[in-house]
Subunit: 370 residues, 2 copies
Amino acid sequence: MKTLETTPRRDGFRMPGEFEPHLGTYIIWPERPDNWRLGGKPAQKVFVEVATAISRYEPVTVCANANQYANAREMLPEEVRVVEISNDDAWVRDCGPTFVTNGKEIRGVDWVFNAWGGLYDGLYFPWDKDDAVAQKICEIERRARYKLYEFVLEGGSIHVDGEGTLVTTEECLLSEGRNPHLTKEEIEEVLKEYLNLEKIIWLPRGIYLDETNGHVDNIFSFTAPGEAVLAWTEDKDDPQYEISRAALDVLERERDAKGRKINVHKLLLPKPILITAEESEGVDAVNGTLPRMEGDRLAASYANFYIANGAVFLPLFNDPNDEAAIKTLQSLFPGREVVGIYAREILLGGGNIHCITQQVPAPCCDGEKV
Amino acid sequence: MKTLETTPRRDGFRMPGEFEPHLGTYIIWPERPDNWRLGGKPAQKVFVEVATAISRYEPVTVCANANQYANAREMLPEEVRVVEISNDDAWVRDCGPTFVTNGKEIRGVDWVFNAWGGLYDGLYFPWDKDDAVAQKICEIERRARYKLYEFVLEGGSIHVDGEGTLVTTEECLLSEGRNPHLTKEEIEEVLKEYLNLEKIIWLPRGIYLDETNGHVDNIFSFTAPGEAVLAWTEDKDDPQYEISRAALDVLERERDAKGRKINVHKLLLPKPILITAEESEGVDAVNGTLPRMEGDRLAASYANFYIANGAVFLPLFNDPNDEAAIKTLQSLFPGREVVGIYAREILLGGGNIHCITQQVPAPCCDGEKV
């Protein structure tokens, strides 16, 4: 696999919107017992459900550590490809490559991954296997790679419209554990150069208590160029209210790269979801890994959905707002099926369906928005 | 990846000759210190040389254990793809899949692998990672798989002409450590069913002291349908003489599946090559793994070459017969380059270039012999 010394912008490559056509989806198999309860067994069942559901719409590859390969292969349907890729945890959105295309070819962008904050406020140590995942996916896919050696970024901290606009959060990208050596302007410059962008929109913060330092993909998502959803609550006593309000203020004020106002649709959040005693007890308490304590509030949000060819995969929480979320997304994705998956077990690990998936865009279909 | 319950013969799939077009080549990265001297470092250099040479003619994928991935990636040129596949040693010819084709599609045959004789006279224990290599290669290649659950076979113990004929050795296929529950006729039946054959030719034995129980690929190879080479010596005092003589007698007597006499070309062996004290000392002496003792004779043979698209890769031993071997192969492969590689370090591990390679045939080119 070629490692390139140029940048995507210089080579005419851009990051497509997630709603553009895909070649397939990558997922990593969950197992670490200090993050997933009961040795990852309940989470594995939900990952199988997600992989199986997506594989009805596009090819899915699941990456497993060697020791879990046979079990993953056994549990997943044969349509899902299983490959060995060593990893520290199951968040391919964050440690996987960000693919860019010039309409004919795709290439990977391989950012530095430091487990959401490195030694400053990262969630576990070490993270060397995760940091090598992007390279290894590019190898399997036989795709050339742009490698950044000093710029920390997780895929979940950005969303793009495929037409020059990126949305992120200050909470994450300006955090002390990412790129404290760079100014906001310098960070914008790197993003513009490696994703071929003209406009960065900065939301102040992500979902309340999101352990990723407020990844944008848990609070906001583009559904099409000029169209987006924002996680929302009407409960003014909830700390989330001010966060969503501030994000909406930015989005209403800003214009995208094409000069459009972004049409923001509110996705009402589920009621606060807390870790139960049983759930907490199932997780190994290991020094250096973020603990899972009884009563801790989880960062549940319907915005953490994944857009695939012909379908959208949406986390459900067995909450009265589940139905409204499905309805909103169905209206925003008229050409796709909206598939809800009860995802509490993914949420317990610290993310959701968008966090555990990474699309490989189709190089052939540049410009044809689906 | 689909696991099929039928057989290649029933589905109209056959094993092509190695000289038919390839999609690419698989190699496994060597490392085990109880087989390769000095932690595998000298062998790794030669594997890099082989992978690099082949990659000039067809795509090469190198499979590495997780712990050696970064080193393999660093040492190999970027044209070579490196993937994680756990393994017990570096003999993909023997543990990898045997690919079959129907002219449109390729599929893998996944035999049982037991380290050349299992608990009876196998070369190391355990071999579970090797036994899973064929499945994992089929996964990466997205190829359906025929899985045998009770039939032990290594790819190096068979050679086919792609037109219905297979050549093997009694020493290997009738060995106590392979399929002692089956008669010779039953073994023939399995081979015919899974490789779509009409004729099995049994040479009595392989190269003298070959630790694989005399794999055919070290003594004999088809160079085209009806054309073959046989490792040979004129030294009647060498135990190899009787072995090669007996093989030639069989080949002169037999006819192939098409009723042709096989035109056998002799490949003169190098002079006996013995393990030096320095070479022996570099190998960990581990109970349960075949030892590498000073003065032991190695099973060196020019017949252990690999045929790729447009080239043949031949082991050289710094022996006066190197030149004759190159010349013979050049005359038998007029359309290909003959590339000699000094391969003592591979030989020290117990095999040679053919043993460390496994072709993925091209499904598109069935019938077009190259």
